[in-house]
């Protein structure tokens, strides 16, 4: 009979009207500035550069300016200039560092491919989303000083992932030390082929694609037989 469907519809809306006062499932709006969204751990927005310490972000950047991310970035929003000199990295090895590292967040599409391809765990995705600016170039083109954030911050926003990364880096470091020790012993005894690092296989993050770049990862690079000073004094 005419009107049955209409009455059914009215019943549904009435149910929602009443339900919105007592049923949280029917009243789903969050009032944003007061109620901040609960971001899931996986949430990603724009990339940032991981530095080991907060005191000296520029001195402890993990980035070695290998330029893989620059090459792989689909919208090509990353610009890197290698340094002329070398600075010791977290493991104490002298490394090239980025003299210029800039990301144009107006171009970035938050795809996180830079994170996936980075062999040094130097670039990660941030969760800061309220980044409006009135100046397109001054406000949205971020340089390395603005991009650098300490590892502690990384732990804060992606705890699980950061723990995995730290574990993996520690394993790589241990493997490197082991290799360095073996190499030192071998040099003392006789020339012997270098042992390939099993660091990546030992790493727990199986989902992470194996680094297969032209630039050698830290683990397989020959490391000076210097004990790694974890907390380093700030470099000039």
């Amino acid at each position: 009979m005419l009107g049955k469907g209409l009455l059914q519809g009215l019943a549904v809306t009435a149910k929602n009207l009443v339900g919105s006062y007592h049923d949280p499932a029917r009243y789903v709006t969050q009032e944003y500035p007061e109620v901040q969204p609960k971001l899931p751990e996986a949430y990603r927005n724009f990339p940032f550069l991981v530095s080991e310490t907060a005191d000296d972000p520029m001195g402890t950047l993990r980035c070695v300016a290998c330029q893989i991310c620059e090459k792989e970035c689909p919208p090509q929003c990353i610009y890197i200039e290698k340094s002329k000199d070398k600075k010791p990295d977290a493991t104490g090895k002298a490394q090239i560092y980025p003299a210029v590292f800039a990301i144009d967040t107006a171009v970035c599409m938050s795809c996180q491919i830079c994170v996936e391809v980075c062999p040094f765990d130097a670039i990660k995705m941030d969760q800061e989303f309220a980044i409006a600016a009135t100046d397109r170039f001054g406000g949205l083109l971020l340089n390395r000083e603005q991009l650098a954030k300490p590892n502690a911050y990384y732990h804060q926003i992606h705890p699980t992932e950061a723990a995995e990364v730290d574990e993996r880096l520690a394993a790589e470091r241990r493997a490197a030390e082991e290799k360095a020790r073996l190499a030192a012993a071998a040099k003392a005894a006789a020339p012997k082929p270098a042992v390939p690092a099993a660091a990546a296989a030992a790493a727990p993050g199986a989902a992470r694609p194996a680094p297969a770049g032209s630039t050698a990862p830290a683990a397989s690079a020959p490391v000076d037989p210097v004990p790694p000073p974890a907390p380093r004094p700030p470099s000039p």
């Binding site: 005419l2 209409l6 059914q8 949430y43 893989i68 599409m109 996936e116 989902a207 297969a212």
Partner: protein, 400 residues
């Protein structure tokens, strides 16, 4: 370089058969003698119901449409050409932006094409996860479509808000898994980027279990509503023959009574292991298109239920599969899946370098949109709006 002779290319031919294209076009409604003046209205590119920047140049006799020309390209951004200059991995996030409601299925279709091209096997667990995500996408897409369609019919936002309420839940799942709500960039060659956790699977299970109840309520609001039926039944009929000849796919084709579903036809992924049905319509009108989607969602719920139950363990991504610096042997491959809007396919030609030499997208929205004029002729402006709504287009995919 010499320009090709226009007569030798398709261009001249297309112009000639305009008006009687396909030989199946509804007889053109010539304005009657003595009928009032015709009114030419440009619906769009800024119009509440064109679902983006899309224009319909309409010639009206009163409110009846005598001519309609769809004009698109306002959102063209060189997607396919960009794909030829980008590495295989680098194109993956761009596919998110085709049909931005269904990045998961776009990713899958593209991954499938690359996997075919490079011969990369996919892990068992990833196949299941892909099915789960594709069916969630289907739920999301069809729910949103129903909401948008009803908005075009003139509802004051209520069905749309209910649709978005449920969509939020699915988007939350996508976000907690992939990190982004809509631009998931989740599939990789040989599997998926992240392994879903047990909590995620439990949350999905909750959603799937509750979705049927939502659909019941949604249908109580709309499916039996006399106004909805009066507005949508008999409007925008698409005959099965025209649908097939025009290359229409997806729910739109099935609403016209053709039971063509790539999940059954190709049996890609692990779909043959699931037990589901393919609903088909009879009249091919707007109501059938709406109802076929409603019924497809019920089937999707059943597929999700089976996939969640049968999800195997193991790695989510083939550790040997190369993502970066992929250089497939020279050759070509076409990967297609049954996306929520129809057959979404990627055609790739490799010459052995790191980029494809040809990158082509078969976008269902675009192909389905080509018959808009045939559907709209003789109907009123109000009908044209809901016919367009029932085609289910996303301009990101139409214009690429």
């Amino acid at each position: 370089m010499m320009l090709p002779d226009p007569a030798a290319t398709g261009l001249a031919r297309v112009r000639k058969i305009e008006g009687a294209a396909l030989g199946l076009r509804t007889p053109a409604f010539a304005p009657e003698e003595g009928a009032g003046d015709l009114l030419e209205v440009s619906l769009g590119p800024h119009h509440p119901s064109t679902h983006g920047v899309f224009r319909m140049d309409v010639v009206l006799d009163g409110e009846r449409i005598v001519r309609l020309k769809p004009v698109f390209g306002y959102l063209h951004r060189n997607h396919e050409k960009l794909g030829e200059g980008t590495s295989y991995l680098g194109s993956m996030p761009y596919t998110d932006r085709l049909d931005y409601l269904n990045s998961m299925t776009n990713n899958w279709a593209y991954a499938l094409a690359v996997e075919k091209l490079a011969g990369i096997p996919v892990t068992e667990r990833a196949e299941y996860v892909r099915v789960i995500l594709a069916e969630l996408s289907r739920l999301l897409n069809h729910t949103c479509l129903a909401g948008f369609l009803m908005q075009d019919c003139g509802c004051s936002g209520t069905p749309l808000m209910y649709a978005f309420r449920e969509r939020e839940k699915i988007l939350d799942l996508f976000e907690s898994l992939s990190g982004s709500r809509m631009m998931c960039n989740f599939q990789r060659f040989g599997g998926c980027r992240v392994d879903p956790s047990a909590e995620w699977l439990a949350a999905t299970r909750t959603l799937v279990d509750g979705y049927g109840a939502f659909l019941d309520e949604f249908e109580a609001l709309l499916s039996g509503n006399e106004i909805v039926m009066a507005r949508t039944q008999g409007v925008g009929r698409l005959p099965a023959a025209l649908a097939v000849n025009a290359g229409v796919t997806g729910p739109m084709l099935r609403a016209s009574g053709v039971g063509h579903d790539l999940r059954k036809v190709d049996g890609y992924g692990v779909y043959p292991r699931f037990n589901f049905r393919v609903p088909i319509g009879r009249d091919g009108d707007v109501y059938d298109r709406y109802m076929v989607r409603m019924l497809e969602m019920r089937e999707s719920i059943s597929i999700l239920d089976q996939a969640l139950r049968g999800l195997p363990g193991g790695p989510i991504l083939d550790p040997k599969a190369k993502q970066r610096g992929l250089r497939p042997k020279a050759g070509e491959a076409y990967g297609r899946i049954e996306g929520p809007k129809g057959e979404i396919g990627f055609f790739l030609v490799s010459d052995g370098t790191g980029n494809p030499t040809r990158y082509r997208v078969r976008a269902p929205s675009f192909v389905n949109l080509t018959i808009l004029e045939d559907l709209c002729l003789g109907h009123s402006v109000a009908d044209a709006v809901i016919i367009l709504g029932s085609i289910d287009i996303v301009l990101g995919e139409v214009d690429r």
